[in-house]
Symmetry: C2
Subunit: 346 residues, 2 copies
DNA sequence: GTGAAAGCGCTAACAG
DNA sequence: CTGTTAGCGCTTTCAC
């Protein structure tokens, strides 16, 4: 019942193991046909363990993301897979659930099992990229930078610009009391989307109370809680920029629970599109980006690193984002005088 | 720059490799402290390739699903991970995109890399489970059965009953012209949800035109197209049962595009809950099930198979589902006489 | 307790 | 073009 080995195949085909090995790896061999038959008859499958013990290559790459449920990361996976499809690399997918601790475990475990890694670190003060570098595992960072910036190939998007687009869109609708539900602030997208929010408001000389920035940790529940707090403010915002799609789901649930109307009572802009965005009532205005391309690009860069490119200079790509306007934004409602007065005081 | 081996550690600690090996696997050893220090200093990590070449075990299990984007499968993953967390098994996740061909590739590739597999086959006439059985890889099927039913441990849900709950709910609202957007009909859930629909209608002596069954292939786009076709019928249904969550998204998009109102013009019941279901307008009535439990249970069964349990009899678990009533169903609207006449003719 | 040594299945010189 | 052979890093007898 033990699986057949290359020796069994060699015997069955009446050749030596090296001939079998050569044939399997593509060399021209006389006994090709006989070997094929032997392989088929025995249902021989080469042992990856033996292969990688010998060659030092595993034939696999890992793709580690904070949240597979998020359609953004799902798209990244598709993009990455589209590149490996033809070439013979297995992709191992792993989920860290936005947790540094979980990521450390996962990376530690995968580090010896793969030839390269695509990683979207849970946070910026996260040792994983360094571990990978120390272990000599080619690594490309996706969407999030490493503490020691500049040392890794990275595929980012223009988070700061995206936030700016969102805020300016709200501004152009006449809003000033604009709040944000921020992501994990020590992650690249969380940080820059928040900075984009702040810088844009500052550029328009708008000052807002600190409670207008609510942390949502990129999780649905965080979005829900944050929106609840925002809505409970004595002087609530007339517009909210939510820094990712999962938090937006939570935020909209809170909005629904409270009975606030969008966009009449509150305008909303999300970050990252989602299949559901269009069927919401009203459809959601979002900042969108080339998701699959981000995954595909990252995989191409990784493959190139793994193949040869040992250049010391790391590449840092920043992809553009754009505003997809739907119907969740409108002019601010008439604020009661009391609210106005308080607003003026800030 | 080569990674340190167990020999390096042995040298550094001044003991033999076997002592190091023993210590690492938990045996009591005198030089424990010294070995630990050597391991740390050298940053030694055992080579999984060498370990599994020797032991025949990979320390990994695979979890292969048709669509990671689907929150149902995401929940299954969480459930499965919750079981392995403590124990030392790496989980490799893989996506087959509802494709038999892709699944064959993925399974073929993983078959030599793991000690066991959790698989949700893309369809019932799919050779993968058989391949796994032939290769002697312990396998537990999730949500979908194998052609040779009864030979595999399987964790299912009551698809037929779920469909019945949905149809009876619609019936109790006064609907008779009930259509369905079916999933992949050659997959277990697709088949039984459709049979549940048919059997329930038959039990109430309701006959409907064949166009009332539209295939959606479990994909969002399929749901969209199917709903479009349903709505374009000269005599459209007053209610629709959509056989999974992703198709429901597509169906609702079509509904929105056409301008049909839910539940006024059309009542909708979905299968499988989704974070978005609650924030839709109206919130969606769905058939719900214990998703994480399905994953956790499957993983427990797999682990038990891998550990010892070589009993020939396979276990087949069927979990209950329930109707989560929200607001997407109501009484049928007044049908114009023309429609009535045609309906009577069927 | 510990060490020496035999392989696990495969690849890549090396010598024909 | 083909066969022989030496390991890759580790676990596990087997003797001590």
């Amino acid at each position: 019942m033990k699986p057949p080995t290359i020796t069994d195949v060699a015997q069955e085909a009446g050749v030596s193991v090296s001939t079998v090995s050569r044939h399997l790896r593509g060399d021209r061999v006389r006994a090709a046909e006989r070997i094929n038959r032997a392989v088929a008859r025995l249902r021989y499958r080469p042992s990856p363990a033996a292969q990688s013990l010998k060659s030092g290559k595993t034939g696999a790459v890992a793709l580690v993301v904070p949240d597979i449920t998020n359609p953004f990361f799902a798209a990244v996976v598709r993009g990455a897979e589209s590149i490996t499809a033809q070439g013979g690399h297995t992709i191992f997918l792993a989920n860290t659930d936005e947790s540094d601790a979980r990521e450390a475990e996962v990376v530690e475990d995968l580090i010896t099992r793969v030839d390269g890694m695509l990683l979207a670190p849970a946070s910026e003060n996260n040792p994983s990229p360094q571990r990978l570098a120390d272990a000599g595992v080619p690594t490309v960072l996706i969407d999030r930078e490493a503490p020691s910036t500049g040392r890794f190939d990275t595929v980012l998007i223009d988070n700061h610009g995206g936030a700016r687009f969102a805020i300016e869109h709200l501004l152009s609708n006449g809003h000033e009391r604009i709040a944000t539900i921020a992501g994990t602030v020590d992650s690249t997208p969380g940080r820059f989307r928040l900075e984009g929010y702040r810088d844009t408001l500052a550029a328009y000389s708008i000052e807002l109370p600190p409670e207008f920035v609510q942390p949502g940790g990129f999780k649905e529940h965080g979005g829900y809680q944050s929106m609840l707090r925002l809505l409970a403010l004595p002087d609530p915002p007339t517009a909210v920029f939510v820094a990712n799609n999962t938090m937006t789901i939570g935020a909209l649930r809170a909005i629904k629970d409270i009975g606030v109307r969008v966009p009449d009572d509150l305008s909303v802009v999300g970050f990252d599109d989602h299949p559901f965005s269009e069927i919401l009532d009203p459809p959601l205005t979002v900042i969108d980006r080339p998701m699959e391309e981000q995954g595909a690009l990252a995989m191409r860069m990784l493959l190139s690193r793994m193949n040869n490119d040992s250049s010391r200079i790391s590449r840092r790509v920043v992809l553009d984002v754009r505003l997809t306007e739907r119907a969740s934004c409108g002019p601010p409602r008439n604020t009661p005088m009391g609210a106005r007065r308080k607003a003026a005081r800030i």
